[in-house]
């Protein structure tokens, strides 16, 4: 898969999570605009990126969702609960499609229909909202006349005319008067003009007489660009699309160039025009050409008449002269001015229509304009500060002027200029406020979207200036982790080397130096380890994100009312730990919803509020992260658990009676024990809470439960913050090293064989006045046991699930830090081992999972 597609899929999944969480929040708080914006933005991002790939179903569907969200956001439609259902449904589909994309890199075409159908269910809500499609409208041209075309030398225009006669290229006239402040928008009008397609003629002139050089403001644009381009109106419209308000365009014919120029006032042969017009009627072009050539010889080439006749000849050069154009030129001769090609263009039946780049404002634009104006009004009303007054007025006026131009209220620009002058000179903004007041539409109060802008900007700056996030593929971090593991291992070989330097080569100094170096490297390696562990840390909230949806869906299904309270989402732990947490937590949550929280009637009958509550709370507890799931439901029925335990033969009646309620309740984590009377499709069948304990313990955590009948249940998971580095106690067994996780090791004792009691084939010993079971590791691992005679037995005392147990090993070795790698492939099934670790001398050590082994 291309990295880009992979990135898209990963990112879209993140966005989908955001959307899911956001939608649920919106369901309860439909007027939470921030949430709505978040969700909209997330959908928007997916849509934007999906356009990069050929995945139409996704684009189609997200587009529909985005439209609905946008309408909600801008309050064009009223919120309905059903919207959330449909949106959730749509995004669920999307999620599946992403999975499909990941597998096949494409989606079946049939999904396009599905996408349209789903989209239609969303668009239902948009009915009744009028979508004002922007319509291009034709209005009168703004060129008052086209005589200005005569400013270019006749030879240049003639050359262009000839070129057009043969190439049939389109011709467009333009006048571009850049905004005086345009440089501050990053614009370079001259460059823009140079980029124009087919630019043929150009005039650059000041809009008003230049000031003296000493008074010139270098950063105020005061130029106007007028020209002719061999390009279509549409092409120029596109090229000028960022400054439509500053440009006048006109699609023209080649004849437009035929503006005679020169000294006027010569005598005109009265009969010529009349004769010529007759010849035009007869379309006798050859004769017309003849008399024109003859007449041309009688005029000084500098005269207007000579110029007019030359243009006439040029028109006649065409294989198919245009009678209308020729007539218009002839009509201009008696007065020796014109012709008015603009008239010709306007009355022409040809599809050459003058178009001004203008269209009515859409409602959205109108609203945006209002927001800009409102924002300026607000800025004006900020407390005054003489130091920034001029700057503030300048910026307000610049924004307003831009906005006015965009909405084509240029009639107000002059007034604005005056108001600005007044504001700057006499330091009062009254005139400016008046202009603003007139622009503000009183009838339509605006959603106060922009008002808290300044505060928001400041806040964002403070919050986020230090925040730069980098998304990294986890495999890269894992690789880094492996390398650090190897570094730790390599580092651990230095003490061996020091020992060798001293013993084999007898150099104590060298040994000391090596040890010093070891100290340095050791420190760096530890810091490196700490840093990389930080990288792997992520907030537990990542897992919590799925909960609201789960609670919502399940409670709806079960007709229960449940409020979910989540706390401490920001608590961080290692990514692997977090991922391990997901399934157990969901399992616990399902149990609480299904079996814990009572139906509303039952709750009310018991004097509880009808709505149950489940609280998920995460917090850091020393080196552990603790997560508590508390519900105020019916609690665990310890009597039922006890019955079941006895019935299943897990405990004798006496044993069961000897246990406190609290101890009994812990048994819900035992395999194959389900206390629910009915099996539901929610918490499932056969899979009990034992799964929770297994997965939590696999990463070195523990789980406990407190429950009070009728009051509620509190399940607490404790997990290590990080599983990257494990402290192990190395022990010797059959000449090999074996690791035991240090966190369960309580102490080491050497036990005389005489101190061992054997009770019913089980061994035990007395440890601080308590009878403690004793196991032999060799036996547990099914290895033969050599006779040890009367030698003391190396015994490791470990604490498992609150119970102390002695483990007999061959010998103790040192405690060490290792990077524990879980067993892969076929070995992954070997639950007796937690994983392997690489040692300083390059050998591999197995690390035991004693909880499983015992």
């Amino acid at each position: 898969m291309s990295p880009l597609l992979a990135q898209f899929i990963a990112e879209s999944r993140d966005q989908l999570e955001l959307i899911g969480v956001g939608l649920l929040a919106i369901e309860n708080h439909p007027d939470d605009l921030d949430r709505l914006n978040d969700v909209f933005r997330a959908a928007h991002t997916i849509k934007g990126s999906s356009g990069l790939f050929e995945i139409k179903p996704i684009t189609l569907l997200v587009h529909a969702a985005e439209d609905l969200l946008d309408a909600l956001r801008s309050q064009e439609v009223r919120f309905e609960r059903a919207m959330v259902d449909r949106l959730l449904d749509a995004f669920d589909h999307l999620s599946q499609w992403l999975d499909e994309m990941e597998r096949n890199e494409s989606l079946p075409e049939s999904l396009e229909t599905t996408a349209r159908e789903l989209g239609a269910t969303l668009r239902v809500f948009l009915q009744g909202r009028d979508v004002a499609a922007p319509v291009e409208s034709l209005t009168a041209p703004v060129f008052a006349d086209l005589v200005w075309i005569g400013q270019w030398a006749e030879a240049d225009r003639a050359a262009l005319y000839h070129r057009l006669a043969t190439s049939a290229e389109p011709l467009t006239l333009f006048r571009y008067t850049p905004d005086s402040q345009c440089f501050f928008n990053g614009e370079d009008p001259f460059y823009q003009v140079r980029q124009l397609l087919g630019l043929a003629l150009l005039d650059i002139a000041p809009v008003e007489p230049w000031p003296p050089l000493a008074e010139l403001d270098a950063y105020r644009c005061a130029l106007r660009f007028t020209g002719v381009a061999c390009a279509s109106l549409a092409e120029l419209t596109t090229q000028f699309r960022y400054v439509p308000d500053q440009v006048t365009l006109l699609a023209a014919t080649p004849e437009t160039l035929a503006v005679p120029t020169g000294r006027a006032g010569e005598t005109v042969h009265g009969g010529f025009v009349a004769e010529a017009l007759t010849l035009v009627d007869q379309e006798d072009w050859a004769s017309l050409r003849g008399i024109t050539e003859t007449l041309l010889d009688t005029y000084d080439p500098d005269t207007w008449m000579a110029s007019a006749l030359r243009w006439l000849l040029r028109m006649l050069d065409s294989t198919m002269p245009d009678p209308a154009a020729v007539r218009l030129l002839l009509d201009a001769i008696p007065a020796q001015q014109g012709p008015d090609w603009l008239q010709a263009l306007m009355s022409s039946s040809a599809p050459v229509v003058a178009v001004l780049l203008q269209r009515p404002l859409s409602e959205i634009e109108q609203a945006a304009f209002q927001r800009v104006v409102a924002e300026q009004a607000r800025v004006l009303d900020l407390p005054e500060d003489p130091a920034t007054w001029a700057g503030r007025i300048g910026s307000v006026c610049a924004s307003l002027a831009n906005a006015l131009r965009y909405v084509r209220r240029t009639d107000l620009l002059e007034e604005l200029d005056e108001a600005e002058e007044i504001a700057l000179s006499v330091h009062t903004a009254e005139a400016l406020r008046n202009v603003l007041a007139r622009l503000l539409d009183d009838e339509q109060p605006l959603p106060d979207e922009e008002a808290p802008l300044l505060a928001k900007v400041e806040g964002a700056l403070i919050d986020k200036s230090a925040l730069k996030t980098l998304k990294v593929d986890q495999t890269k971090v894992d690789r880094l982790m492996d390398l650090i593991g190897e570094l730790v291992v390599a580092k651990n070989s230095l003490p061996y080397l020091a020992r060798r330097a001293e013993r084999v080569y007898g150099s104590r100094d060298l040994a000391r130096e090596i040890k010093d170096q070891y100290g340095v490297i050791n420190r760096i390696a530890q810091e490196l380890q700490g840093s990389i562990m930080q990288v792997r840390m992520m907030p537990v909230g990542h897992v919590f994100q799925r909960f609201p949806r789960l609670v919502r869906d399940l409670s709806k299904k079960l007709d229960k009312k449940i409020r979910l309270v989540v706390e401490g989402e920001g608590t961080e732990a290692d990514k692997n730990i977090i991922e391990t947490l997901a399934d157990p937590l969901i399992h616990i949550l399902r149990n609480s919803i299904d079996h814990g929280i009572e139906p509303p009637e039952e709750r009310l009958a018991r004097g509880k509020p009808g709505e149950g509550q489940i609280r998920v709370k995460a917090y850091q507890d020393n080196d552990n992260v603790a997560i508590e799931i508390t519900d105020d439901g019916r609690g665990v029925d310890s009597a039922a658990v006890k019955n079941k335990l006895v019935r299943r033969g897990l405990l004798t009646v006496e044993q069961a009676d000897g246990l406190s309620d609290h101890e009994i309740v812990q048994w819900i984590f035992a395999p194959g024990l389900s206390t629910a009377d009915q099996i539901s499709d929610i918490s499932g069948r056969g899979v009990g809470m034992d799964v929770v304990r297994t997965s939590v313990e696999r990463v070195g955590g523990s789980v406990t439960v407190h429950s009070q009948r009728g009051v509620g249940t509190d399940i607490r998971l404790t997990l290590p913050l990080s599983m990257a580095v494990t402290h192990v106690m190395a022990v010797e067994l059959d000449g090999k090293l074996i690791g035991v996780p240090m966190d369960i090791v309580v102490e080491t004792v050497r036990l005389a064989p005489a101190a061992i009691y054997t009770i019913k084939h089980r061994e035990a010993f007395i440890l601080r006045d308590r009878l403690t079971p004793l196991m032999r590791l060799r036996r547990l691992l099914e290895m033969t046991e050599p006779a040890t005679g009367g030698a003391a037995l190396a015994t490791l005392v470990v604490k498992i699930r609150g119970e102390s147990v002695g483990i007999v090993v061959d010998n103790f070795r040192e405690g060490m830090e290792v990077i524990l790698k879980p067993l892969d492939g076929v070995l992954a099934g070997l639950k007796h081992y937690a994983g392997t670790a690489l040692l300083g001398d390059g050998s591999v050590m197995l690390v035991l999972n004693l909880k499983e082994l015992l």
Binding site: D188, R194, L213, A214, L223
Partner: protein, 80 residues
């Protein structure tokens, strides 16, 4: 800096940006006899163009870039 100011000659090189308009204006105000060389210039920002139009210094070497020369030179010579 694409504009190099010598004693009384300014040499334009490559793309001359808006940031250089102000220094150029200053220089031209101080150097009433200034001349400019545009030979190696490929573009000059509108702001610079304006300064040149107002100050109107003689151009000793027009741009080699034919397209720039075509649009720029008539404008610079118009006001002469």
């Amino acid at each position: 800096m694409p504009i190099h100011f010598l004693k009384s000659v300014a040499c334009f090189k490559g793309v001359c940006t808006v940031e250089e308009a102000e220094p150029l204006l200053q220089w031209l105000q101080d150097q009433p006899r200034a001349k400019i060389k545009l030979r190696e210039c490929t573009h000059l920002h509108t702001a610079i163009l304006q300064v040149l139009l107002v100050a109107n210094p003689p151009v000793t070497l027009p741009p080699q870039d034919p397209e720039l020369a075509r649009w720029l030179m008539p404008a610079l010579q118009n006001d002469r």
